[in-house]
């Protein structure tokens, strides 16, 4: 720094060194937040009881799992794995398609600029209901209703898709460019024509992107809800882990990761092609 400049700065009482501004500007929050965090950590970690002896005994099993990942066993449970993956994939596709078909009208109804207040409230209530529960909890209820098997999983995933897609679609519709809608309205178009010519072209690329993303999520979830009996690869995975067959479990996990990777890359390609 220029010595003369710093001299005058010191003389006039300005701070001589630059200090970076704090991330949180309010002082009580800046100092209160870490104090609260430390207090919570003491309380929280204190209430976690760990059976270290049991954890120590499990260590060989942990190594067995890592070893299973390095040498996965695709063959000895091959038939079960194939059936489970097939069930998961079919569940994923059907539930996503049905979920999209139901969530498009609900999404349009939940858009403030297209729907009358009564329908808006109803559609928002459906979305809130669908979004507030974990897939697994919904799966438990559907299994109790329609029995074990992929149909319960299909219903669960379709139900969860509605909340996700309708909400994002409604937000997207609310953010469309109003000028285009006005231009269509000025030609004397009815409500359906307005949706078809002004709204749909604007939201379609994003709807396709969201649908592909949801397809991906539904596949990942389909691996989980099998644990509570709703079909799919989850049941096979659960059995493999319960029997400590970590090499088969690792094979299933590797297949799941590979399918998610393929889905992610192809959905990226499709989205690029659509836009």
């Amino acid at each position: 720094m220029n010595p003369r400049l710093s001299g005058t700065a010191a003389a006039s009482g300005y701070p001589q060194r630059w200090r970076r501004p704090p991330f949180i500007s309010r002082p009580w929050l800046r100092y209160g937040l870490p104090c609260g965090a430390v207090l919570y950590l003491i309380l929280g970690i204190g209430s976690v009881e760990v059976n270290w002896l049991r954890a120590w005994e499990g260590l060989p099993r942990g190594f067995a799992f890592v070893a299973g990942f390095l040498a996965p066993d695709f063959l000895s449970r091959g038939a079960d794995i194939r059936a489970g993956i097939l069930e998961s994939l079919t569940m994923t596709l059907t539930s996503t398609v049905v979920g999209i078909l139901i969530s498009v009208p609900i999404g349009v109804g939940a858009a403030r600029n297209l729907a009358p207040p009564a329908i808006y409230g109803l559609c928002r209530a459906i979305i809130a209901l669908s979004r507030s529960f974990q897939e697994v909890i919904i799966a438990i209820l559907f299994v109790a209703m329609v029995g074990f098997g992929p149909l319960a999983g299909f219903l669960t995933l379709a139900f969860a898709t509605i909340g996700f897609l309708s909400k994002l679609l409604a937000e997207d519709i609310e953010e469309i460019e109003e000028a285009q809608a006005e231009a269509i309205r000025a030609t004397g178009a009815g409500w359906l024509q307005l949706v078809n010519y002004a709204v749909q072209p604007q939201v379609m690329p994003r709807l396709i992107g969201l649908s592909l993303y949801r397809l991906d999520i539904n596949f990942r979830e389909s691996a989980v809800i099998g644990i509570v009996g709703a079909g799919g690869i989850g049941a096979t995975l659960n059995t493999a882990i319960d029997r400590y067959e970590f090499d088969s479990a690792a094979a299933i996990l590797i297949i799941i990761i590979a399918i998610v990777l393929v889905a992610e890359y192809s959905s990226g390609a499709i989205r690029k092609w659509v836009q």
Binding site: R20, F23, S47, A144, V146, R220, A223, V224, L253, I257
Partner: protein, 271 residues
């Protein structure tokens, strides 16, 4: 512009006929695939049970109401455990995700050829596997309890936080980094003064967002033995104590709504 001509009259079309036909063919394929999947999926479904579903639903609803409010006093400790699983799991996940994100971002990774793909693979593996599956594995390794739940949540959070954070790091303004390094700053000082301040708001937002999701996920981890309120849910389901199940659902709903509200407030304050 695609135009169809009928005699002298020209009619505007959105797409040319060939493109339109290809589109319809694509839809046809999708419908065929859907029907095929539906057949494969349902070849073992017992439709007798499905026809019975409305009656079953009414029956369960009848058993669930009214909720057993007195059960609440036994739910406070599991609820506290659930909060701990989510919060401590998020903190552990953040601690693990930070280095992974910096290794995965194109502009901060030490080696694009070798280290970046490894970090990306770690992020993808963590993201593809649901926390319930991680919990299933960890319960069989570590034994049932909160620790398995915390580590499961942390392992799942690495992928989420890592992915969003490395994308944020890649999108920073390079001119600030250049300015800091032009003063002769070392690599660590560039990280501290040039990169961290730019990604800190995004990082805080992502963390709170993930915490909110983790609260939601930690409520069901108990179903596989990883502690928290899910354990009580599993007990109540196994003993068919539906009034307790409905109370637990109400508690979970309240917690999720509250955490979503907190997370929205905090993110609003940061951004």
């Amino acid at each position: 512009m695609p135009v169809r001509e009928i005699g002298e009259i020209k009619i505007w079309q959105r797409r040319s006929t060939a493109v339109e036909l290809a589109g319809w063919f694509g839809w046809l394929l999708l419908v065929a695939l859907f029907v095929f999947c539906w057949q494969v999926m349902n070849h073992q479904t017992l439709w007798v049970f499905v026809q019975d579903a409305p009656r079953q639903a009414a029956d369960i609803a009848g058993r669930m109401l009214p909720p057993r409010w007195s059960y609440m006093q036994r739910l406070w400790v599991p609820l506290w455990d659930t909060l701990n699983i989510a919060t401590l799991g998020t903190l552990l996940g953040v601690a693990l995700a930070l280095p992974v994100a910096f290794l995965a971002a194109r502009n901060t990774t030490p080696s694009i050829r070798f280290i970046r793909p490894v970090a990306l693979l770690g992020i993808v593996s963590s993201r593809s596997i649901n926390s319930l599956i991680w919990a299933l594995l960890l319960v069989s390794i570590l034994g049932p309890g909160l620790l398995a739940g915390i580590i499961a949540i942390a392992l799942r959070s690495i992928g989420f936080i890592g992915k969003l954070l490395y994308e944020a790091i890649e999108e920073i303004d390079p001119s600030q980094v250049e300015a800091v390094s032009a003063t002769g700053a070392s690599a660590l000082q560039v990280l501290d003064y040039g990169i961290t301040p730019q990604v800190l708001p995004a990082f805080a937002g992502i963390t709170v967002f993930r915490w909110d999701i983790n609260i939601r996920e930690s409520t069901v981890l108990g179903l596989v033995g990883a502690g928290g309120i899910g354990l009580e849910l599993s007990h109540s389901l196994n003993t068919l104590a539906w009034p307790q199940v409905s109370l637990i659902f109400i508690v979970i709903l309240g917690t999720v709504v509250l955490s979503e509200w907190v997370s929205a407030k905090v993110r609003h304050a940061i951004i």
